[in-house]
Structure formats: structure tokens, C-alpha cells
């Protein structure tokens, strides 16, 4: 077998060195009732590279790739162009096949990259510090809520109705078992956010307020007043960013006073990948750094005085603190963080601003075009590259009919909020730089046909 280098002669010689007569001797501690005589029945045996590639290729062709036609889905995962050099660099074996940098003398590549990543993320989100990444945005969001509980010693979190419903679900799942109290709900089809009402709901039991920016319906708003209200009440403002490209154009949550900013970094470098692996962003004010979950990379010097980097403040983490750790997380999303960081480095500030501006302008053009379809209107009075369309009918069947015309026309609110019939006419549409004018025209024409 192509991945197994031992020969029969090697195996015999090694068994002799060990003093075992057969390989079975090495498995004597397995209880007799659990020992298998041969390969597990009913499963195929090994296969050539050609055969496996053929099989997997056939499966891959059973899905419609986003790039095959007009594509307008977002709702927490965005299709952006990823420069070719990103994928080349993350496939360098020294990055791809390295482990967590526990031996810093021979892991400076990963460590310096993480330091750069943390610095880029902190600047993008407008905060002081960021960690070396989390699994994804949804789990980062829950960890931020737990962190706010640790800091404020209060357990009630107010979730904006504009928070991604999957993120809300993750928080609900966990809160059931941790005793945290969540105040949440479905969004209303309003042009603006629910943030003013949230500010009025803060009380002395409130640990944090969680808002998404841009939110699930694509709305953007100024969170300065909400941050002030949180601060006045001793609560923390947690901002969730699922589309980091937006922050090349609109103010960062940190600039508006958010205490903890988490997000999904998938937009930069990572690609859609059917939902994972992605890269959770986690950033906060310096004063809270010792309550952060996850890995942190820090600068130091070596024995010769040369600058170097190490994983640090690990007394927060499970391998040291065990049941008293800030989280059970034992990894980060290293390779996706690398992809994010490379893409961000390629863009730079000027490139990011230009990319964001193009996204916004393309989305405005699409919104204007789609609003011309009879019966269709745009909910938002503000958005970045994603907005909500109100259709004259239930959106879910429309999505399937559009797919039959080879147009992937967004995410229906019915898919996201299946129990809420009040939202069923809503359709969330994302428009990135990958969308062409022809795509927009095709979408508008098909929508018109489907609704006719």
C-alpha cells in the first residue's frame, strides 16, 4: 500500500527485536470478545489513486458548484475571489503538515504568521488584541458570551434578533446546559435594526448584548449609542461580523466601542467549502485578554536576543488549567488563519478598501435591478453587500425554481426561520465582486419569470 513503507522483512526483523512472535502478540491486551479475526467484513479493500479519484470526482459532479453560474448566496458564508497564490502557499508542506507550534525554535514560520494574523484581525475589527483563531464564527460567538459572563459575573445575554439564526442556535444549545439566560427572538421585517430597543432592555443582570454587523438581513447601523448604554450598565457589547470584507468600507465595531468582536473569517482566503473548515475571529480590549479563550501568540526574544514568537498566556488553557480553563478549545483553525492572513496581505489596506467598495457598488446595482421586478421590494435602508428582498410570495419555492434555471438566487428566510411564517416572503441576497452585470440581469429576468 502506497502510504505504508514497512516491508514484510522489516516487520519480521522488528518483531524479533521486540521479542514478539507475531503482530497478534502486540494486541494481547484487547479483550478476546473484541478481537477481530480479519479486515472488517462488508467494506471494500484498498484502492488505487486513480480509482479513488474517479469515485470522488463522480460525487463532486453531483453538486452544482457556485462558479458554474449566477450565484447570490451569503447568510454567513460568502463567495469571494481568492488569489491563486493563497492556495499555493497554504499547500507548502512546511505549513500544511506542521503541528501546533509547541516547539517554537522550529515553528517560527507558523508563529510569526499567527502574530501577523492576530495583528491584522485586531486592526480590521478595530480592537486591541485578537487571538490565533477559533473553529468558526458561530462557536466564537458562544465563547464570547461565556467570556462576558466570566468578566461581569452576570449570566443574562441579550441577543439581537439580527444575529445569524445558526449562531443563535449554537448559543441556545449551550445555554440549556450552562445555566446562561438568553433573551432572543426572530427578526422583524423592518428597514432598521433592533438596537435601540436592545439598549432599553439592558438591566443590572445583563452580562452582554450581542449584535451582528452587518446583520442577518444585511442591515448596518451605528452601535456607538448601544456601546454607551452597555458601558453605563456594566454590560459588555459583543459585535459579530460574518462578512469581514465589509470592514474595508464601514466603521469597525471596535471604533464604535464594542468590547469583544468576534466573526467569521471565511470571506478572506478560505472559500465556501460547504460550510467548513472556516476560521473564527476573536478580538477584544486589552484589559480582557486574560479571560479570552483559545491560543494566543506573543512576541519574545531567544537566548541570543533575537526576536521570536511563542504561544503565550497558556495558563488560561485546558492543557494547563484543565477543568478551570477558560474554554475546552484545544486547537485553532491554523491553516484557514494562514489563508486569511495571506489574502489580507495581498490586498493590503488599499486593496481591501477597493474590494469592499466594489462589493457595495455591485450590491447596490443588483438591489436596484431586482427592485424593478414587479412585486419585489428591498427591505433595507442600508446595507453593505447583502440585502433582503421582499417577494410577493413565499420565497422557498422561488429559490428552487430559480435553481432549475441554473440561478442560485440567495437564501430564503424560510430556510433560516422555518417556524416563522411571517418571514417566509424574505430572500437574503449577497452580491460580491464575483457577480457580473450579466449575472444580475439573468437573476432579475429569471425572478420576473418565476414570479409571473
Amino acid at each position: 500500500m502506497r502510504y505504508l513503507p514497512l516491508t514484510s522483512d522489516d516487520r519480521a526483523a522488528m518483531l524479533a527485536t521486540i521479542g514478539a512472535s507475531s503482530i497478534d502478540d502486540l494486541f494481547v491486551d484487547v479483550p478476546a470478545e473484541a478481537r477481530l479475526d480479519g479486515p472488517i467484513a462488508g467494506l471494500p479493500n484498498h484502492a488505487s489513486e486513480l480509482a479513488v479519484e474517479r469515485h470522488m470526482g463522480a460525487l463532486a459532479r453531483r453538486s452544482r458548484a457556485a462558479g458554474e453560474g449566477p450565484f447570490f448566496l451569503g447568510a454567513g458564508a460568502y463567495r469571494h475571489h481568492v488569489p491563486a497564490s493563497v492556495d499555493h502557499l497554504i499547500q507548502r508542506g512546511e505549513f500544511l503538515t506542521a503541528y501546533t507550534p509547541y516547539q517554537p525554535e522550529i515553528a517560527q514560520g507558523t508563529l510569526q504568521m499567527l502574530f501577523e494574523f492576530q495583528s491584522q484581525v485586531a486592526r480590521l475589527l478595530g480592537t486591541d488584541v485578537a487571538n490565533a483563531s477559533m473553529y468558526d464564527g458561530s462557536t466564537a460567538c458562544w465563547e464570547a458570551i461565556v467570556m462576558a459572563r466570566r468578566i461581569t459575573k452576570r449570566a443574562k445575554a441579550l441577543l439581537s434578533t439580527g444575529l445569524h439564526p445558526h449562531y443563535r442556535s449554537v448559543a441556545r444549545t449551550m445555554a440549556k446546559y450552562t445555566g446562561d439566560i438568553l433573551v432572543d427572538g426572530d427578526p422583524s421585517l423592518d428597514a432598521g435594526t433592533d438596537w435601540a430597543a436592545l439598549a432599553d432592555s439592558i438591566d443590572k443582570e445583563t452580562s452582554c448584548v450581542v449584535v451582528q454587523y452587518p446583520d442577518i438581513l444585511g442591515r448596518i447601523d451605528d452601535m456607538t449609542k448601544l456601546a454607551e448604554a452597555c458601558q453605563a450598565a456594566g454590560a459588555l457589547l459583543i459585535a459579530v461580523v460574518t462578512e469581514p470584507v465589509a470592514l474595508g468600507l464601514i466603521k469597525s465595531p471596535g471604533e464604535m466601542g464594542a468590547d469583544i468582536v468576534v466573526g467569521e473569517g471565511q470571506s478572506l482566503g478560505v472559500g465556501l467549502q460547504f460550510g467548513g473548515p472556516y476560521v473564527g475571529l476573536f478580538a477584544c480590549k486589552t484589559k480582557y485578554v486574560r479571560q479570552m479563550p483559545g491560543r494566543l501568540c506573543g512576541e519574545t526574544v531567544d537566548a541570543n536576543g533575537k526576536r521570536g514568537f511563542v504561544l503565550t498566556l497558556s495558563t488560561r488553557e485546558q492543557h494547563i488549567r484543565r477543568e478551570k480553563a477558560t474554554s475546552n478549545i484545544c486547537t485553532n483553525s491554523g491553516l484557514c488563519a494562514l489563508a486569511f492572513s495571506i489574502h489580507m496581505t495581498l490586498l493590503g489596506e488599499a486593496g481591501l478598501r477597493q474590494l469592499a467598495a466594489i462589493n457595495h457598488s455591485r450590491a447596490k446595482a443588483a438591489a436596484a435591478e431586482l427592485a424593478k421586478v414587479p412585486g419585489v421590494s428591498v427591505l433595507n435602508n442600508s446595507f453593505f453587500n447583502e440585502f433582503t428582498l421582499l417577494l410577493p410570495t413565499t420565497a422557498r419555492p422561488v429559490i428552487h425554481k430559480l435553481a432549475e434555471k441554473d440561478i442560485l438566487g440567495g437564501v430564503s428566510l424560510g430556510r433560516l426561520y422555518p417556524d416563522n411564517t411571517g418571514l417566509e416572503n424574505g430572500l437574503v441576497v449577497a452580491v460580491t465582486e464575483t457577480v457580473t452585470e450579466a449575472d444580475i440581469a439573468a437573476f432579475a429576468a429569471a425572478l420576473k419569470e418565476v414570479l409571473a
Binding site: M1, T7, M14, T17, I23, D25, L26, V30, G38, P39, I40, L43, A47, E53, M56, R64, G67, S85, L96, T97, A98, P104, I106, G109, M113, L114, Q118, R123, V170, T173, Y177, G179, G248, I250, G271, F274, G276, R295, G298, V301, D302, A303, T312, L313, Q318, E323, N328, G334, L338, I342, M344, T345, L346, L347, G348, G351, R353, S382, A403, L416
Partner: protein, 514 residues
């Protein structure tokens, strides 16, 4: 003159430079190249990406981001060079043996990478209409079937994002099952030798954690465990093969005792590589076990993730598995998520993450599994165990192996620092190995062994590689026993000497401040 490269040689170092001082002007040493931070070489106007149109004007009023962000850009050529240079400061499996115990650093086949990049897997949105993503569902379903069959379990939850997230999934299933039974059991028992994630996970989910003592031979003390079981115990978390590298001989008896007392058995599957294809955890009474796809099934570790931690479940815990998951109906696949769970999966404990889990890892793991097949996976376990025992028995004359008398080891060989010269420690041996061109083994874990050194060679190493490694480790062990002072300052030939971790923690610098 200000040297661009702060990391390397600087004028204020007050050395002449040149070969005599072993110092160069650049700080470089031939192929060992220093590299500044992007913040030192990039510019806010520089970019490595071209666009087809100029930035259109936007009218966002006070929400417009006007202040400088401080994000440096590099041209593509500079970017490629920056990250290529950084990459060369990393050790990696592609360079050599990476014997980190409990981490299973095996070869990462490149076919996996090629398959994961097929557009039907890589360029697919998680919320696309179901009829347009049947291939993606097919991969999830096919991998799930393999994992269920290989473990002899009832079902598998695919969405957990990593091993520790999988632990959380299993523990939440146990919580939900107890809740369904109307029982409020608060205690999870965990052996002292467990991975730190086990107690952290149990605590994260609101359980109280208590230690299970070990026997002198490095296994769970069955009698002590039985004595502690009772109506307050929700379950146990046991790693098998355990972190001392041993198979828990009494695993079935442990499971039977825990079940008889009304509890559940969580198995930490981090070490599944030792038994895959040879032993099915389902035959040992396990109720839940996570499988690190990045360990047993060769998905790349990527310098620290992403992982992927599907959790196989017993029939007792299956009703509580998280959303979403894929079912097969005839030739097509269907997603069970929030909207249809009420009908099809009413007792689910809920959702653990947005979307479906680590699809990019599923494609790689399935590719790996299909490449090996049932016969190849059995051979994987056998060669992994053979390699570990070969290392163990080849070094017991120079290194203390505390459990050498406890029987064969499984996938990893455990040594201690007993017998080293005064003032010499496991850390010195680890750093000495770096100079010999190896990544060190896992050190100071498990905590139950003083100065632990846990060596996991994996099955993808040849005998020749192991023989050279054994020779190198033997040489370093002898130096540590003889008190060679040069070992105290190792590594001497790495891109960096020992780093000041105390300074890093005392005065944290976590972001570029220039």
C-alpha cells in the same frame, strides 16, 4: 543606518560581521533566511491584487470607515517570498519524523488535497438548495457509514469541528439522555492521565469533574472506579488506548460497571489510530467516541488546525445527536435540520455549529479511507503499533520506560526522565532532538509520569527512519545521563535558540504596535 531586519543582525549588536564571528550582515545563514514582519515591509498603498474597476464612491455617511486601518499590503511577488521564507522556519511531517505522542503525525496524502479542491466540494455554499448539493451530502453520508462500521457503533454526529468539540458533543448527548430519563447526575469521572480537554469539556458543560485513580501499571483502577460509581455519576471519560500508550484491558468491564450504575461511557478517540480496523469500540461498550479525522484519517494539521471531530454514538445516545445530519432515501440525500427535526429527530440536543461541520476534512478523510480500504486500515493499526513497540524496546536500556512491564504498548512509547544527570530534564532531550533534525516527542504529558516523553512514530515511517531516530535519541539520552553541558543550551542549529516564554507571558506583546 537602520537594518530592515530587526530579527537578525543589527548595527547596534557591535560585531564586525563575517565568518569569523559566525555572524552575517543580514542575519541570514545561507538557506536559513530571516524574515521581517509584514508590518515592517508592507505599505498601506501597496497591493498584490488587481481589480477590473476603480473603487466606486459610496455614500455611507457617518458609518464610512475613514480612519486609517493600518493593514500593510505586499505585491504578489513579495507575498510569495514572505510566506515561503516563513514556511522554511517550520518543521513538518514532509521534512521528517514528527513523533508527537497522542497527535498522530502521519503522512498527509496529496490526493486528499486534490480531491478537496474539486469545485463540487470546495466551491459549494452550505445553504444551497438541497437538490444542488447531493454530491456533498453523499460524501458526508459515505464517510459516516465508514465511521459507523469501523467503530461498530449505531450512528455518528458529523458536525463537531475538532476533537474537543466532539467531546462536548458526546457529553451533551449524555446530558440530554439523563435529562430525558429525568435524572440530574452531576459528576463525570476522568482518569488523571486524561487529556486536559476531558475535564475542561465536562466543566464547560456544567459537570463536576472527579479523578479516577490509576493502577501501578498505568491503567484505570477498575475496583476504585466501581467503588465511586453511584446515582450522582453521569459517566466516565476514558481514553483508549490510553495516554500511557496502553490498551485498557478492562474496558468492557468498565463499561459494564458504568452502565449497571446508570452512567454512560465516553471514550476519547484521539488514539484510535492504534486499533482502527482491528478493534471496534462498539464491542467494548462505548456510548460515545470522537474521532480526530486529522489524526487517524490523515487530514493535515496545518500548524494547528482545522481539526474535525465526528462523534460515533451508541443506540442509547443516538436520539440526542446534534443537528444537522444527512439521511439517504433511495438514491438521494436529505438534510435533517431544525425545520424537520420535530418529526424526524425530536430529542436532539440542538446545533453545535453553523452549517454542516468540516466538509473540507470529510472529503480528505474519505479519500484516505477509500485508499486504504478495510485491509489497509487494519495494516495501518498494526504498523503503527509495531513501530511504537520497536522504538520502546530499542531504547529501554538507556531510557526509563515506566510501563515497559505492563505489556506491549499500542501506538506510542512512554519514557520518563528518571536516571538523567542532576540538572538535566526532558526539555533538554527534546531540544537536543531538534539539533538532530527531528521534531521532539510530546513532553511532560501525561502528567502522571515525571518528565514524560511520549513517542508516537505512526505507521508511515520506514524501519530505516526509525533506526536513525533510535540512534539519535540514544545518543542524546547518553549525553543527558553524562551531563553534557552543550545539551542545556540546545538547540544550537535551529532558526532560534530557546525562547523566553516567561517574558512573553509577563509582558504580553500580542499585536504589532508600530
Amino acid at each position: 543606518m537602520t537594518a530592515l531586519n530587526r530579527a537578525g543582525w543589527r548595527p547596534e549588536m557591535n560585531v564586525a560581521g563575517g565568518a569569523d564571528d559566525n555572524v552575517t550582515f543580514t542575519g541570514n545563514r545561507a538557506l536559513m533566511l530571516e524574515e521581517p514582519l509584514i508590518f515592517e515591509i508592507g505599505g498601506s498603498e501597496t497591493t498584490g491584487v488587481d481589480f477590473d474597476e476603480a473603487a466606486p464612491a459610496a455614500d455611507l455617511g457617518s458609518l464610512a470607515r475613514t480612519a486609517p486601518i493600518g493593514l500593510p499590503g505586499l505585491s504578489e511577488s513579495e507575498t510569495v517570498r514572505h510566506y515561503t521564507r516563513l514556511s522554511r522556519q517550520n518543521y513538518a511531517i514532509d521534512l521528517g519524523l514528527f513523533p508527537l505522542g497522542s497527535c498522530t503525525m502521519k503522512h498527509n496524502p496529496r490526493l486528499n488535497e486534490k480531491v478537496a479542491r474539486m469545485p463540487g466540494f470546495a466551491d459549494v455554499h452550505p445553504l444551497q438548495p438541497q437538490e444542488t448539493v447531493q454530491g456533498a451530502y453523499a460524501v458526508i453520508h459515505e464517510l459516516a457509514e465508514w465511521l459507523i462500521t469501523l467503530t461498530g457503533m449505531d450512528s455518528v454526529a458529523m458536525s463537531p469541528k475538532a476533537g474537543a468539540h466532539g467531546e462536548l458533543c458526546g457529553i451533551l448527548c449524555i446530558k440530554a439522555a439523563l435529562e430525558a430519563r429525568g435524572e440530574d447526575r452531576r459528576v463525570i469521572l476522568v482518569p488523571e492521565s486524561a487529556h486536559g480537554t476531558n475535564p475542561a469539556t465536562a466543566a464547560f458543560a456544567g459537570f463536576t469533574v472527579e479523578d479516577i485513580p490509576a493502577t501501578e501499571e498505568g491503567r484505570v483502577n477498575l475496583e476504585a472506579l466501581k467503588a465511586r460509581l453511584g446515582p450522582d455519576v453521569a459517566g466516565v471519560m476514558i481514553t483508549n488506548p490510553n495516554t500511557c500508550g496502553l490498551f485498557e484491558r478492562d474496558m468492557k468491564a468498565i463499561s459494564d460497571a458504568v452502565h449497571a450504575a446508570g452512567g454512560y461511557v465516553y471514550c476519547d478517540g484521539a488514539n484510535f489510530n492504534a486499533i482502527v480496523g482491528r478493534v471496534r469500540p462498539g464491542d467494548l461498550g462505548v456510548d460515545a467516541m470522537h474521532i480526530n479525522l486529522h489524526k487517524t484519517f490523515s487530514t493535515p494539521h496545518g500548524g494547528g488546525g482545522p481539526g474535525s471531530g465526528p462523534v460515533v454514538l451508541s443506540a442509547a445516545l443516538t436520539p440526542f445527536a446534534p443537528l444537522p445530519f444527512v439521511t439517504k432515501q433511495g438514491d438521494s440525500f436529505r438534510l435533517i435540520e431544525e425545520e424537520n427535526a420535530g418529526e424526524d429527530h425530536p430529542q436532539t440536543f440542538g446545533r453545535m455549529t453553523a452549517f454542516h461541520g468540516q466538509m473540507g476534512m470529510f472529503t480528505r478523510a474519505l479519500t484516505y479511507i477509500l485508499s486504504h480500504g478495510a485491509d489497509g486500515l487494519k495494516q495501518v493499526a498494526e504498523d503503527a503499533v509495531l513501530n511504537a513497540n520497536y522504538v520502546l524496546r530499542s531504547l529501554t536500556d538507556v531510557l526509563d520506560a515506566p510501563f515497559a512491564a505492563s505489556g506491549p504498548c499500542m501506538h506510542e512509547a512512554l519514557f520518563s526522565d528518571k536516571g538523567l544527570a542532576e540538572g538535566f530534564s526532558t526539555l533538554d532531550i527534546a531540544k537536543g532532538l531538534i539539533d538532530e533534525g527531528y521534531h521532539p516527542m510530546t513532553v511532560y504529558f501525561p502528567l502522571v509520569v515525571h518528565g514524560a516523553m511520549l513517542v508516537e512514530p505512526t505507521e508511515t515511517e520506514s524501519k530505516a527512519v526509525l533506526d536513525q531516530f533510535i540512534g539519535a535519541l540514544r545518543s542524546i539520552a547518553m549525553r543527558a545521563k553524562n551531563g553534557d553541558p552543550a545539551l542545556k543550551t540546545a538547540p544550537h542549529f535551529a532558526p532560534r535558540a530557546r525562547l523566553d516564554e516567561t517574558l512573553a507571558a509577563r509582558k504580553p506583546v500580542l499585536a504589532w504596535e508600530g
